[in-house]
């Protein structure tokens, strides 16, 4: 084939590719990607008195993320309440990731070392909760940890405790809930990494008198590291933006960033602040996902 004809075919292929993708891209532009631009614009406007905005440029939205203006003398001070919410969000997201890893790694290892025929069944058992309504799963965990819930009933019956443990509406409840709902996001990439792991390396390790701990630390963990990074980010990112779980299990007090954003909009508090918080969350998530892409690429390319 002549290079001119090749070039023409290539161009036609690109044109068709774009044309066929156009309806999907248009829909996303209108109802998913485009609206994000509005958020950026709103973060630089002046808050209206009863919610909404006044179309005047202002840095206030961004400034009030960290500082609050004293109502009497107008001086700026650190907004402690906001910092508490950020700190809680980051802390709970990191702890969720750690708990999910502590439970998810053995689980993924267990699934990957099952006989091939059983493996699909175990994987399916992990994927069902993954696709099930987040709200339903949050209600389910509430059933277990509430004052008259399964845990308290069993512990009371067994005489371990005399009064029901107050778990619900605490940070611990949010942590348990998030670890529960996001666990499958940790197990699936870990399984993918462990599934590719060459078990003969273990034999080599044991032959050279490595202890189990050494084999785990020096052979297994370094090799499945891309899966660990991927799973951790996949759990950390939705945890940081969580809304439903802290709302249901945290009660009104134990807000995370997602609930704080809602408060700015629905209670008509301060739309530009809510917009600035949303942009911040978006930037953090994007950076985390870039790390994810790098980890995932390294995982697929053994020489990377």
């Amino acid at each position: 084939m002549s290079s001119a004809a090749e070039e023409r075919m290539r161009r036609q292929s690109a044109r068709n590719g774009w044309l066929l993708s156009m309806p999907a891209l248009a829909l996303l532009a209108v109802a998913a990607i485009g609206p994000l631009a509005i958020i950026v614009v709103y973060s630089f406007l002046t808050p209206g008195q009863y919610g909404n905005v006044v179309w005047e440029f202002s840095w206030d939205g961004w400034v009030s993320i960290l500082f609050s203006r004293d109502i009497f003398d107008g001086t700026l001070g650190l907004a402690d309440a906001h910092l508490t919410i950020f700190w809680r969000s980051v802390k709970l997201s990191i702890m969720t990731t750690l708990v999910a890893f502590a439970l998810g790694f053995p689980t993924a290892w267990f699934i990957a070392t099952r006989p091939a025929r059983q493996r699909a069944m175990w994987l399916f058992l992990i994927t069902i909760p993954f696709w099930t309504n987040l709200l339903i799963r949050t209600f389910a965990i509430m059933e277990v940890i509430r004052a008259e819930g399964v845990i308290n009933t069993v512990l009371l019956w067994a005489g371990v405790i005399e009064r029901p443990l107050a778990i619900i509406y605490t940070d611990t409840a949010v942590l348990i809930g998030m670890a529960y709902v996001y666990l499958p996001l940790m197990v699936l990439p870990l399984f993918a990494a462990i599934d590719r792991f060459d078990m003969r390396l273990l034999e080599a390790g044991y032959d050279l008198y490595a202890s189990r701990w050494q084999v785990l630390r020096r052979i297994i963990l370094p090799i499945v590291k891309p899966g660990i990074v991927a799973g951790s980010i996949l759990v950390f990112v939705p945890s940081l933006g969580a809304y439903v779980t802290p709302r249901v299990l945290g009660g009104g007090k134990n807000m995370m960033i997602g609930n704080f954003i809602e408060l700015q909009f629905l209670a008509g508090r301060n739309w530009p602040l809510g917009a600035a918080l949303s942009v911040t969350l978006l930037v953090i998530v994007t950076v985390a996902l870039l790390f994810y892409v790098r980890a995932a690429n390294r995982g697929s390319n053994p020489h990377g």
């Binding site: 292929s13 690109a14 590719g17 774009w18 066929l20 993708s21 309806p23 999907a24 891209l25 829909l27 996303l28 209108v30 109802a31 998913a32 990607i33 609206p35 994000l36 958020i39 709103y42 439970l103 053995p106 290892w109 267990f110 699934i111 070392t113 399916f124 992990i126 994927t127 909760p129 696709w131 099930t132 309504n133 987040l134 709200l135 339903i136 799963r137 209600f139 389910a140 059933e143 277990v144 008259e148 819930g149 399964v150 529960y180 666990l183 078990m199 273990l202 044991y206 990112v237 933006g241 439903v244 249901v248 954003i261 809602e262 909009f265 949303s278 969350l281 978006l282 998530v285 994007t286």
Partner: protein
Amino acid sequence: MAERRYEISRIPGFATIAVATFVMLYLPIAALVTYSFNAGNSVAVWEGFSLHWYEKAWANQAVKDATVRSLTIAVCAAVISTAVATLAAMGTTRRARFRGDTFIYVAINQPLMVPEIVTAVALMILFGMVKQATGYQGLGYLILAHSAFCIPFAYLPIRARLEGMDLSFETAAADLYASPWQTFRHVTLPLLGPGILAGAMLAFVISLDDVIITEFVKSGGQDTLPTYMLGQLRRTMTPEVNAISSALLALTVLLLTAFFLLTRKRD
């Protein structure tokens, strides 16, 4: 004494933790479903088996309306997102790489990456403006929003199916003077069928389950099943919520099982 085979890949404690994890994963769901059959009106004290709460939920007009609304939105969103996702999958697989194909791929998967609360707030502002300008308050906004975030869920299984199909059938059809449309209609589409069905089912499940975006976009009195359940939190919870949850759960599991049977590799 039976000889125990030495398993090189066994790490002490891992199997125990794994089994415990599976129990922890399913115990809350089991509790939720169990109490949906409770005869009493507590979600904590068991008073015997009954279908009372299912009947009650079924007779509740608010639940009925929310169910119809949820299903309407989910069907529309599944059809729209699957249609555009099929076209996009055709445009981005089985052809030479072209300028911008990575951009298209990232754009299509964007709803998977942005925190839902951010999209929800953005849509609330945008649709709020449109609602004010046009006066239209209908379900269209929810259908539009759901169609958009369902696109990646429809796209990925269709793309996976397409990547597993080689071009020889289509080339053969073209050699026999089939027009591109005939080739698509009689060759590609039937082969792609299971992928499209799988994509549509995932989109349906995702739309049916959505809470956050729906909560922010809906106009007054447009509760779907999940937002109705979220609203019940403010009251004393009765097993009615468990009954609705269990019914939704059953539907999801049913669709997922069908999905896995459809996409299962034949080897």
